[in-house]
């Protein structure tokens, strides 16, 4: 009888502990707004981070979050603009060429400290028209992805991921190549030398 009581008590404690383990904070797939790509552009002189969410609709679903940094943008997105946002699937960040000097280094440094982001997260520069096309056409990220894959296989070293860009600017102060996407050249990848 005593053993049964002890066993029951232990089971109760285990169940309670399981319930309080944090399962209420689950990132449920049916309620999550999964962000796939992010663009950084300037609108009326302000830096705007646009989070493109995963959806089956024909048009891209982008939500603008005005912020000065990616860290601030993520916090604002979660608290105000996009409840239940899931940022673990962010695959690519495209930064307007006019803004990279202001935001690129700090954003990449921030991303490198967060375990949720993959070090293989793609980071590219682009022109304003590319950002506009991103907001209008759903195929644009796929085209850019394919182009980036071709670039990785080429002989010239181009830093396309957060990992390689971070290593490039942290190890030396020299110029290094990053991928640049131009809407005028039909979203083909070019290399652009920058220094951070």
């Amino acid at each position: 009888m005593r053993k049964k009581i002890v066993a029951l008590l232990l089971c109760f404690i285990c169940c309670v502990s399981v319930l309080f383990s944090g399962c209420s904070e689950a990132r449920r797939i049916d309620t999550a707004a999964i962000a796939e790509n992010v663009t950084v552009d300037t609108v009326d002189g302000k830096t705007v981070y646009t989070f493109f969410l995963l959806s089956s609709e024909d048009k891209p679903c982008g939500i603008d979050v005005p912020a000065d940094s990616f860290e601030e943008a993520c916090a604002l997105a979660e608290n105000r603009y996009i409840p239940n946002i899931s940022i673990a699937r962010i695959d690519m960040i495209m930064i307007n060429e006019e803004l990279y000097k202001d935001v690129m280094k700090s954003d990449i440094e921030y991303i490198s400290t967060q375990p949720v982001y993959s070090p293989n997260l793609k980071v590219t520069l682009c022109d304003s028209n590319t950002v506009k096309r991103m907001k209008e056409e759903k195929r644009v990220p796929e085209i850019i992805d394919n182009e980036l894959m071709l670039t990785e296989n080429s002989t010239e070293k181009v830093n396309t991921t957060c990992l390689s860009i971070f290593n490039s600017f942290s190890e030396s102060n020299d110029d290094f190549s990053v991928a640049y996407i131009s809407a005028e050249k039909e979203l083909k990848i070019e290399t652009m030398k920058i220094r951070l």
């Binding site: 967060q114 375990p115 070090p119 293989n120 990992l163 290593n167 190890e171």
Partner: protein, 352 residues
């Protein structure tokens, strides 16, 4: 009863290999910056040679006299037996806490930041309690199945990371300092805790051969070297931006565009920590006399849990419990000095 069966020594050492793996899997800024891969490799070799030396007393005891340390103490010094065993029980609790704290910290940091750390520790200890109640024989059998899964994990992690290797990120030169050497070697000496577990649990095993220990340590060395290599040449400076660099290394692994291989890293770490805590609880049970397994294991599981709560709320307790220098001192004392003294006395009395 299966619990009374002697099993092959190579199974015990296989389980100890998984225990030792936790050292590199839960590595967190333990390896100095500004040290090259070759330098770290040398520190690794030196560290594991020292581990090998730490193994000598328990190896001699098992090979020559077919005794484990608990039996030796009981025979030679019955008066201080309980005092010595109390020390080893405290050591087991400290070691369990050392790895559990790191594990829950990694869990909280990398896996699920909203999870209650003490609840995670409780659930983990509960599973280890169940495992320890079944006995060493059963746990080492489980280790065989674990080895198949671990092999799969290693293949996925390393083969997925191959595409990220970039030899320009790091150099094959030799750069490091004396302080770096001491610090890194101390870190690579950490697996010596498996010598203590072996010293206590070797009495359950048979067919021991000395080369089994060398194979275990060499396998650990190869594993550590592989992780070091990938961290240096796949991550480079990025490795220092986050804690638990091995996790980061698994995060960059991709196979045909499929990611999520860090979940295998997480599984491997969980299994390693499970092995460590369970085998340590088995050690405590052996030290306490094995007549009341459930009572022994449950009391010390509660002690480990309470200490974990203290460590999570009191930073000073946490710092003591996760201090690598203190841990290594403890290891050397428990695995080398005390058994070494006993062995010398035992041999003298045998010769006399």
């Amino acid at each position: 009863m299966q619990i009374n069966f002697k099993f092959p020594s190579n199974r015990l050492l296989l389980s100890l290999f998984f225990c030792g793996s936790a050292v590199i899997l839960l590595q967190n800024y333990n390896i100095s910056d500004n040290t090259s891969f070759l330098f770290n490799l040398i520190c690794l070799v030196v560290g594991l040679v020292l581990c090998c030396i730490v193994f000598i007393p328990s190896m001699v005891l098992k090979r020559k006299y077919n005794l484990d340390f608990v039996m030796l103490t009981r025979r030679k010094t019955p008066r201080v037996y309980y005092l010595i065993m109390a020390f080893y029980s405290a050591y087991a609790v400290y070691t369990a806490e050392y790895f559990l704290l790191r594990y829950t910290d990694m869990f909280h940091d990398k896996y699920f930041s909203d999870a209650g750390v003490n609840v995670i520790a409780f659930i983990m200890i509960a599973i280890c309690f169940y495992g320890a109640c079944r006995g060493v024989n059963i746990i080492t059998r489980f280790g065989i199945i674990l080895s198949a899964f671990a092999l799969l994990c290693y293949i996925l992690i390393f083969s997925g990371g191959v595409q990220s290797l970039d030899f320009e990120l790091h150099h094959f030169d030799f750069s490091g300092s004396a302080i770096g050497f001491i610090s890194n070697t101390t870190f690579f000496l950490t697996p010596s805790f498996i010598a203590v577990i072996f010293a206590i649990l070797s009495g359950y095993s048979e067919n021991f051969k000395s080369r089994q220990i060398f194979v275990t340590l060499i396998s650990l060395a190869v594993e550590f070297a592989a992780f070091l290599f990938f961290v240096s040449f796949a991550l480079g400076a990025y490795a220092d931006s986050q804690s638990y660099q091995t996790f980061l290394m698994s995060k960059i692994s991709q196979i045909s565009g499929l990611s999520g291989i860090e979940s295998f890293y997480f599984a491997l770490t969980t299994l390693s920590v499970f092995m460590i805590i369970t085998l340590l609880l088995c050690c405590i049970n052996r030290e306490m006399g094995e007549s009341k397994t459930i009572l022994n294991v449950s009391v010390f599981s509660i002690v480990i849990f309470v200490l974990h709560i203290c460590a999570s709320y009191l930073n000073s307790v946490g710092e003591i419990l996760t201090n690598p220098m203190l841990f290594n001192l403890f290891n050397i004392f428990a695995a080398f000095i005390i058994p070494g003294i006993y062995l010398l006395v035992f041999r003298r009395s045998e010769n006399a």
